[in-house]
């Protein structure tokens, strides 16, 4: 195995991903499932967990694209390059791109998941027999509405199990029409269209209007690929037309004639010589699962292996029963170590399999609330005050390795070593009697373990149960016009950054004085975090800047590597 120069890897184990768009080749549910299984390949052998985001920036942004898709590394049409991914890091780093000029399947021909019918969304069974004839593709036989269908068992006559196949007459995905079906004919820029088209788009994706006039209604969606659709070419996915004429000769099946690469193609009208309309014939396709597992290996920090049987070998080959090769395991464990303890169970989304727009919601936005965890530590003063229902805290800080969340005279704490939810609330006045109810900021000095609390223009220093203060923050050298200290970041031993408004100051804790050269602008040093963060603290080697319910997490290289919810990620509600 090989890793990228400098052993590029994620500096956190809870890696996030986001699926930005979908291929028309497979149902959304199948694509989501393929990606989830591909991540599981790696999480099974490492301490890594993968959590899906539905908006915002994830570590691994996944997308489909064709040819020049915007990253400077264009794809090359069908076959050849299948996908690529970037090693871990910010921006495009860590992202995975899949060539949508490929035919994406599960590796063994069209993977057709049905809708409606009576088979509960089962996959088509090819071949299947219907009225004595065998079918290897979806068919419109037996129907008058032209909707393609298939049997989901080998014999429709015996089992009567069927469902409808992907078709633009049944639904669209993406766009702005909530998955409505195409309406034909439709008008676009004054011209009438009887089928899906790529006109008006530069990305090559087929679309249709979902009302009779796009120009007036502006409603559209992308067309799912039929299993009989041609791939690439210039026919917008129309099916093959047999027989067809090519260079004066008639063809009754797909052919590689006329091509130097041996690929099978067909005409989509009855005469190629006249119409020049063509496309590649559907084939086994490429397993999205296998290719994604390989690409995610790159996104986690693995380069290409020269072991032919390894997943990280650069060439594609289909394997039925996939197992991660020892070489891949050694490679990924070199970067992240092995998996210990029980199988991690990060919160999972519950996406509907209906239509694309409806799943575009943030999974972490509204999960089921969890019950407060029973605790053996001091009893909560008021169990009805639930930290999970707080939208904003006065301050958040780490004391003795545990995150403490302060709000209106109460505090809660979470352990850094378990996924249990918050304990509390506990009374601030019981634990630190000298303090007021509202704490704006706090930090624990790493050297002396003294606790510094700030409230308004005053601060207190606790050493165990003894307290000094209140003292004015002006005594530290902070200007008299600041209203409160809103956050504190440890910077090495004996130095702490204090944040207020759009500025921060560096406090020499031992000297109890602000260093010269301050204040400095927060956004000049900590780019990409909110200027008006009300909680700033350091936790597990990261800087956190909170605003309302959200936090921006920054790594030691001062890159924002995650934005998330305080409630779910820090409070573990």
């Amino acid at each position: 195995y090989k890793t990228f120069d400098g052993d590029l890897k994620w500096d956190h184990n809870d890696v996030t991903y986001r699926v930005l768009n979908y291929s028309p080749d497979m149902e959304i549910a199948l694509i989501d499932d393929a990606f989830a299984r591909a991540f599981k390949v790696w999480s099974d052998v490492t301490p890594l967990t993968f959590r899906r985001l539905f908006d915002g920036t994830a570590d691994i942004m996944i997308s489909f694209g064709k040819a020049d898709h915007g990253d400077g590394y264009p794809f090359d049409g069908k076959d050849g390059l299948l996908a690529h991914a970037f090693p871990p890091g910010a921006g495009v780093q860590g992202d995975a791109h899949f060539d949508d000029d490929e035919y994406w399947t599960l590796g063994k021909g069209p993977a057709v998941k049905t809708r409606y019918g009576n088979a509960d969304g089962a996959m088509c069974h090819f071949p299947f027999t219907f009225e004595g004839k065998s079918y290897t593709t979806c068919t419109t036989e037996g129907r008058q509405d032209n909707l393609p269908w298939c049997a989901t068992t080998a014999d429709y006559g015996r089992d009567k199990k069927f469902g409808f196949c992907p078709s633009e007459l049944l639904y669209t995905f993406g766009g702005n029409a909530d998955g409505a079906e195409c309406v034909f004919p439709f008008v676009f820029l004054g011209k009438e269209y009887d089928s899906c088209t790529t006109e008006g788009r530069s990305d090559g994706y087929r679309w249709c209007a979902t009302t009779s006039n796009f120009d007036t209604d502006k409603k559209f969606g992308f067309c799912p690929s039929r299993d009989t659709t041609t791939i690439g070419g210039n026919s917008d996915g129309d099916p093959c037309r047999f027989p067809f004429v090519f260079l004066g000769k008639q063809y009754d099946a797909c052919t590689s004639e006329g091509r130097g690469d041996g690929k099978l193609w067909c005409a989509t009208t009855d005469n190629y010589d006249d119409d020049k309309k063509w496309g590649f014939c559907p084939d086994q396709g490429y397993s999205l699962f296998l290719v994604a597992a390989h690409e995610f290996g790159h996104a986690l920090g693995l380069d290409h292996s020269n072991i032919r049987e390894a997943l990280m070998f650069p060439m594609y080959s289909y394997v039925e029963d996939f197992h991660l090769h020892e070489d891949d395991i050694e490679g990924i464990q070199y970067l992240y170590g092995g998996r210990t303890g029980p199988v991690p169970t990060p919160p999972q989304p519950n996406p509907t399999t209906d239509i694309y727009p409806t799943i575009d919601e943030n999974v972490t936005d509204d999960p089921e609330p969890t019950e407060p965890t029973p605790t053996t530590t001091p009893q909560p003063v008021d169990p009805t005050k639930d930290a999970c229902k707080m939208t904003k805290f006065d301050t958040i800080t780490v004391i003795q390795g545990e995150l403490h969340f302060f709000k209106d005279g109460n505090y809660w704490k979470t352990s850094s070593t378990s996924d249990a939810g918050p304990k509390g609330p506990f009374s601030v006045s019981q634990k630190w009697p000298a303090l007021p109810a509202v704490i704006d900021s706090a930090f624990e000095d790493v050297l002396t373990k003294k606790l510094y609390f700030f409230s308004g223009t005053r601060f207190w220093v606790y050493t165990g149960q003894s307290v000094l203060g209140p003292r004015s923050i002006e005594k530290l050298g902070l200007p008299s016009n600041i209203q409160k200290v809103e956050g504190a970041l440890q910077r090495g031993k004996g130095k702490v950054l204090l944040f207020s408004g759009e500025n921060f100051w560096r406090l020499d804790v031992k000297a109890q004085k602000i260093d010269r050269g301050y204040p400095r602008f927060t956004d000049a040093v900590f780019g990409g975090v909110p200027n008006d963060a009300h909680d700033v603290f350091q936790y597990k080697g990261h800087f956190y800047f909170c605003r309302d319910r959200f936090y921006w997490r920054m790594n030691s290289r001062r890159q924002v590597d995650r934005v998330g919810y305080v409630k779910y990620d820090l409070l573990k509600c």
Partner: protein, 89 residues
């Protein structure tokens, strides 16, 4: 004695891949995946020879290291694969 059939290649409209010769394919492949790269050191540029590049590629792909564009090497170059270069630049 029958003459061998002569294939006629046409340019298909909208085809992203153009018909290319084996040599063109190999050169493109070796450059794209990092085997044949321009090295820049102190203003001096040297091109890794094609033979050396082919050998590196053959080693990576588990092929016999002949340094020649033989059939198995060309076949490997035509196979579907990941777009990440094999040799980092």
């Amino acid at each position: 004695r029958s003459l061998p059939l002569k294939s006629v290649y046409v340019t298909f409209p909208g085809d992203v891949i153009k018909n290319m010769t084996d040599t063109e394919l190999a050169e493109s492949y070796l450059k794209r995946f990092g085997y044949m790269d321009t090295l820049k050191r102190s203003g001096f540029q040297s091109m890794v020879s094609t033979s050396k590049a082919v050998k590196r590629m053959q080693r990576q792909m588990g092929l016999e290291e002949t340094g020649e564009l033989d059939q198995s090497t060309l076949a490997a170059m035509k196979k579907p694969r990941c777009g990440v270069p094999d040799v980092a630049n």
